[in-house]
Symmetry: D2
Subunit: 104 residues, 4 copies
């Protein structure tokens, strides 16, 4: 059986937890985005920085955050949403996720 065991993502107190692989990969990507963001803040110390260069850098960080968000979303769909019918909490899980995706 190739399916992940949904129980593996359940805390002792029956709380849903993020799959460890997604957690590590998201953390790594967000750390890189943070470093990139720091370099933009330093860039803005220079009086002759050009607006469009700053816009491009901000866009790059936004792309990195979207990538991290995809890692988290994928892990959530696999570990928690795909098993919702078995647990019996489909409507709550979907409502919660739709709310979190709004304006994305």
């Amino acid at each position: 059986m190739t399916q992940a065991d949904p129980a593996a993502h359940c805390h002792p107190e029956n709380k849903l937890c993020m799959p460890e692989d997604a957690r590590r990969r998201a953390a790594r990507r967000l750390s890189i985005a943070r470093g990139h963001l720091e370099s933009i803040v330093r860039m803005l110390d220079e009086p002759d920085v050009y607006c469009v260069d700053v816009l491009r850098q901000i866009k790059a960080v936004q792309g990195a955050l979207s990538g991290a968000g995809e890692v988290v979303l994928r892990g959530h769909l696999e570990a928690h949403v795909a098993t919702a019918h078995e647990r019996g909490d489909t409507l709550e899980m979907v409502e919660e996720l739709m709310e979190a995706l709004k304006y994305r």
Copy 2:
């Protein structure tokens, strides 16, 4: 039991189909968006139309399409993704959905 029966969304040939309620609500919203889009095309026949008014109208239609997309996504999560672990096709379902959400 308050859970939807996943079998209800399966075609005789075992194909996943859109839940009827989501299908009707999405169709209604998209019909309204189509009418709105028609009125923008007519607006553009007027030589003195103003750019920013057109931008605002296009944005409104984009909002309507996002709303229709949310109806479809919610139905898909409830009827098909939440039951994926039971069917044993979690990885395929999640991969397909992540691909469809890309650049959203």
Copy 3:
């Protein structure tokens, strides 16, 4: 002189109007998007339509609308924003545009 004449986009009553080329190109693109949207509405008449296929089609129309919006925005920047300092209405023009771009 390679600059467009800003006066060319001014109505007799001194109202700013959309450049004709942008107007025609935006209309053409929006007409195509309308046809695509019609085909999605028809697709939703079929009881065995699949959610992810509908999501993909909606995404394609959203891409087409973004393309039309870019045509309009480019024409507006060239014809009206780039000439704002000469007319003396920079702050109003920028405020109006930022408002229209919001949540884009």
Copy 4:
């Protein structure tokens, strides 16, 4: 005269520079976003963090980056795009900006 002096945003070597006020406000907003991003990275050290909480936090940082991007864009439109026709570089300025806004 209420218009900003476009010359104020020109470097000795005739390079366009970011207006100082926009530069400071963007830096402040991006510093706050960086702190927020750091707190998400720390959150991901906890084995029982929940996916949807992480998604919400990432979305909040994306909102902060969009806000910083708006500050930069507004400054650019006022200081550089609105004066493009006078400088005679409208087409280049608009092309560059449209490219930077792409996929935004």
